[in-house]
């Protein structure tokens, strides 16, 4: 099947308005006879479910947690971008559009990104109307901060808990519709397959996670909003339950999967401390505004630190290598996420890591404390302040800015980051790749939509900070409610979709067979055992830097782990009860397939772009020597993979990317 992105004709700034003016609408009386299933209740799913119910559709929403409010959007810290230009610093829809396309290293679809920028301002209005307590300045107006990769202040925030407050806003809108009976909420339910009737998505098979019962749910359209697949690495900043099962199941039923190799590795996470580690914790990007990143200059100092014989504070200034400031004098410690992550890996691979595992670098606030201390002394007219006084004054400023993050660090690591530098290391954080969708956010299966992080459309090969929340809410509040209406206008005479049909029988049987396999298999190894092995292969060979040899090995190794998994996995308990091991088994089985496609996609893309770095594709000389080299001539396309059985047999379809409104340039941070 040829890919059709269905981008409307006309100038980019008019596309979305013209589109909305010409789509078919469903009248309010008919909406009452149309059912929509929304799987996932994070920012994208929650906002979509609430808005569709407000419009009058009958919505069934599904979450694996015990409440929609617990979806992992809740953990987003920094903020949400919007082209409001409240600061009068030259921001505009075009500038947000431009920054997002450039930040994505020119691998996103222009028309989708422009639409995102257009609706961004509406999101802030909507959230304020819902009672989201954004930060305000003393005049009572909304405050903004700045994030990496841009030159304006357009980020709105609610302390370090912006994701939480936005999700609670969408959740409150859902609650209003649940109370009215327009949303039927299925907590502690997991979607295990999609049901297609005559080629159209018409329902899902779900498991009640309390009773184990397998349920059939029908609808006129199905929306997948189940987030990213970062847990394919086992260790990530995702929640423990975050999984790719819904996205992968629809892929196996005909939805193409796009750009799986585009993954964001966030540079400032708390390093791993041992093999028991279950997840990684992000420290906000804002810390790089004041922290200086370094490792020892001499290998013997690094080794002494690794063995616990030397402390970082013992090292003189000239024995420290501030490698980001050295390599990227223009941007220094504020280079984009992908660049900062790769630089940390390069130093640690060379043996300069600073903890027992050798996988950590320092983020040091001593210089900031001194700088702020001197500034405060001047402000307070203190002549010849002592070193102690400067430290005291400076520490108070750093505490006011980052106190909660420092406290979080101290709780986890048990070290005081005011006195000794923080240790950080990159970790998997966000996946730009996902289910392929057209301009309508519809997948290659009719009536099957995919929104939020689960789709691929807006961030290209690298996402800018504070743009994930923007995309989730744009899709759910302002884009999908229009595009899905155009599709559903053909369904006003269809009537309720019956569930006692062969299509539902077959899908349910498939789901039950797989569950019975797990609970009856006489294996010897736990689900986590396989998940950890998969994660290690992914991190070592499909992580921050990739090469042909490693990717080929990864594909073979993942296949071998998968085959062993299906022989040796052990799942205690039964199918008819709450059984967390059984839930994990299904998710890991899907990750074991997705991981191989991920490696295959990375192998095919013989260029470096955004979060995808191929060691073979670097600048060989000139001022950019050693930096990532993009290849627009051969790779300015979206890779959309069609399922054909084994992941290695997946067929590649290309959506060529056209850039009519933005000139393609190399990103430079030197």
């Amino acid at each position: 099947m040829a890919l059709n992105s269905k981008v409307p004709k006309g100038p980019i700034k008019d596309k979305w308005t013209d589109y909305k003016n010409h789509i078919d609408l469903v009248n309010p009386a008919n909406k009452r006879h149309i059912d929509v299933i929304v799987v996932g209740t994070g920012l994208a799913g929650g906002s979509a479910a609430a808005t569709l119910a407000e419009l009058g559709y009958n919505v069934k929403a599904f979450a694996y947690q015990d409440s929609p409010r617990r979806a992992h959007s809740i953990a987003a810290q920094g903020g949400i971008n919007a082209a409001k230009n409240y600061q009068g610093d030259g921001d505009s829809t075009y500038r947000l559009f431009y920054d997002t396309v450039k930040g994505g290293d020119y691998r996103s679809r222009e028309a989708n990104v422009h639409r995102l920028a257009e609706v961004s301002a509406n999101i802030i209005d909507q959230c304020v109307a819902q009672g989201v307590p954004f930060a305000r300045d003393y005049g009572g107006l909304l405050d903004n901060r700045s994030f990496g990769g841009v030159l304006v202040s357009r980020t709105f925030y609610a302390k370090g808990q912006t994701g939480q407050q936005l999700l609670l806003g969408a959740y409150s809108a859902m609650n209003r519709q649940i109370a009215r009976g327009k949303i039927e909420m299925f907590n502690r339910h997991e979607m295990l397959d999609v049901v297609k009737v005559d080629g159209k998505a018409r329902g899902i098979i779900a498991r009640n996670l309390i009773t184990g019962e397998i349920e059939r749910h029908s609808a006129h359209a199905v929306v997948i909003a189940t987030g990213g697949y970062g847990n394919v690495y086992f260790l990530s900043t995702n929640a423990m339950g975050s999984n790719a099962t819904a996205a992968w199941k629809i892929h196996k039923k005909g939805a193409y999967f796009a750009n799986p190799c585009y993954t964001q590795i966030h540079p400032t996470c708390i390093p791993r401390s041992g093999d028991y580690q279950s997840k990684l914790t992000l420290m906000s990007e804002s810390l790089r505004n004041d922290g200086r990143i370094w490792v020892p200059k001499k290998i013997e100092d690094a080794q002494a630190i690794q063995q616990g014989k030397l402390k970082p504070t013992d090292l003189a200034e000239e024995d420290r290598d501030y490698y980001l400031e050295r390599r990227y004098p223009a941007f220094g410690n504020l280079v984009p996420r992908d660049v900062a992550s790769r630089a940390a890996k390069e130093r640690c691979d060379a043996g300069f890591g600073v903890n027992a595992t050798g996988e950590a670098v320092y983020l040091d606030f001593a210089a900031a404390i001194e700088r702020y201390g001197k500034e405060q002394a001047k402000i307070q007219n203190i002549d010849n302040p002592s070193g102690g006084k400067i430290y005291e004054l400076g520490q108070a400023i750093v505490e006011a800015k980052y106190g909660n993050l420092f406290q979080m660090y101290e709780k986890i690591v048990d070290e005081n980051p005011y006195e000794t530098p923080m240790m950080i290391y990159p970790a998997t954080h966000y996946t730009m790749g996902g289910v392929w969708v057209d301009y309508n956010l519809m997948t290659t299966v009719e009536g099957l939509y995919c929104i939020g992080e689960a789709n691929f459309s807006d961030h290209g090969a690298n996402r800018l900070g504070a743009s994930a929340l923007m995309q989730g809410l744009a899709d759910g509040y302002f884009v999908l409610p229009y595009t899905i209406g155009d599709y559903l206008s053909n369904d006003i005479r269809t009537g309720k979709i019956p569930t006692d049909t062969k299509e539902f029988d077959d899908a349910e049987k498939e789901v039950k067979d797989r569950i019975n396999f797990f609970t009856n298999n006489k294996g010897t190894k736990s689900v986590d055992h396989f998940h950890k092995r998969l994660g290690k292969v992914m991190w070592d060979k499909v992580g921050m830097a990739r090469n042909e040899k490693g990717l080929k090995e990864a594909m073979a190794e993942i296949k071998a782990i998968r085959e062993e998994f299906w022989k040796e996995v052990k799942v205690p308990g039964s199918a008819n009860e709450m059984n967390p091991e059984l839930e994990k088994a299904g998710r890991v089985a899907d990750f074991l397939e997705l991981g191989e496609l991920f490696a295959k996609d990375a192998l095919v893309r013989e260029e470096s772009c955004g979060g995808h770095f191929r060691e073979e594709s670097v600048e060989l000389d000139g001022p950019q020597k050693g930096e990532a080299k993009r290849n627009d001539e051969d790779f300015a396309f979206v890779s959309a993979w069609e399922y054909k059985g084994e992941p290695a047999d997946a067929v590649l379809h290309k959506e060529e990317l056209e850039f009519n409104d933005i000139e393609l340039k190399q990103r430079s941070y030197k």
């Binding site: 609430a50 808005t51 407000e54 947690q65 015990d66 409440s67 409010r69 617990r70 979806a71 992992h72 809740i74 953990a75 802030i124 209005d125 909507q126 304020v128 109307a129 819902q130 009672g131 307590p133 954004f134 930060a135 305000r136 300045d137 005049g139 009572g140 107006l141 909304l142 609610a158 302390k159 808990q161 939480q164 407050q165 609670l168 959740y171 409150s172 809108a173 609650n175 649940i178 109370a179 309390i210 900043t237 929640a239 423990m240 401390s273 041992g274 028991y276 580690q277 279950s278 914790t281 986890i412 048990d414 302002f478 736990s526 986590d528 052990k570 205690p572 709450m578 967390p580 091991e581």
Partner: protein, 247 residues
């Protein structure tokens, strides 16, 4: 370190539960409490036994899913954190640790340490929202200035993660801190004024219907709350309720 764990095991909501003893060895002080539970569960799976079911998800203290009652305290022996942020350095080699679910009549046990907190959902559905549809043409976000003080105070109330530690801690199983926080968030903002009276009446009525107890001002909820939600929110809710009932 080596530890003895006394853990509440209960097959399902109808079964009779009991405390069961387990031993774990070689636990690192750098582990989080839930990573210690992962070690125990891996041990149980390998021995062919059923692992202990417990709620958890984000493991960074924000989703509100984890809910253990450890050595007689909701979220265990540390302040300002959830169970997933508790670390084993708070314990000593040879300790015996008692682990129970959050207990309250309104939070029935589903399995082992997992409880049903749907009562919180129903309270929110009774009025924990502002009635505004998504339209794309609500007024501009800066049209109504809101004092920084009010916005900050509303944010402090809104920071509640809905974990239920307040209920589990309270000798009366009262949910007033939870409900007070939500009522306060909207009561402090101009957007929330229009429906303020109905909101507080409906949410409190639902809270009573769910079987939560009353508040006797012991303040235990504030002490155990992982997000430091203030008792002031309960006072504000009571004022709002009185105002709604007499006007």
């Amino acid at each position: 370190m080596n530890l003895t764990l006394k853990i509440w095991r209960q097959k399902d909501s109808n079964a009779k539960g009991q405390m069961v003893d387990y031993k774990v060895t070689d636990i690192s002080e750098h582990m989080s409490f839930l990573e210690m539970m992962d070690v125990l569960n891996e041990q149980l799976v390998n021995a062919g036994e059923e692992p202990v079911a417990f709620d958890h998800d984000c493991r960074e203290g924000i989703c509100g899913m984890c809910s253990m009652y450890i050595n007689g305290e909701a979220h265990g022996p540390d302040r300002g954190i959830t169970t997933c942020q508790l670390h084993m350095r708070m314990f000593k080699d040879g300790d015996t640790i008692t682990i129970e679910p959050f207990r309250a009549a309104a939070f029935p046990v589903i399995k082992d340490l997992v409880v049903d907190r749907m009562a919180f959902e129903r309270i929110q559905q009774a009025g924990g929202y502002i009635s505004v549809n998504t339209s794309g043409n609500t007024q501009d976000a800066n049209a109504i200035p809101i004092s920084k003080h009010a916005a900050d105070e509303a944010m402090d109330a809104a920071t509640c993660i809905g974990c239920g530690a307040c209920v589990a801690t309270c000798k009366n199983s009262s949910a007033m801190l939870f409900v007070g926080a939500k009522v306060s968030q909207y009561a402090l903002l101009p957007q929330g004024q229009v429906e303020a009276a109905d909101r507080v009446k409906n949410m409190v009525a639902q809270m009573d219907l769910e079987g939560f107890g009353n508040c006797t001002n012991t303040g235990a909820c504030e002490v155990e709350c992982p997000k430091g939600i203030s008792l002031d929110n309960i006072a504000r809710m009571n004022r709002e309720l009185m105002k709604a009932n007499i006007s």
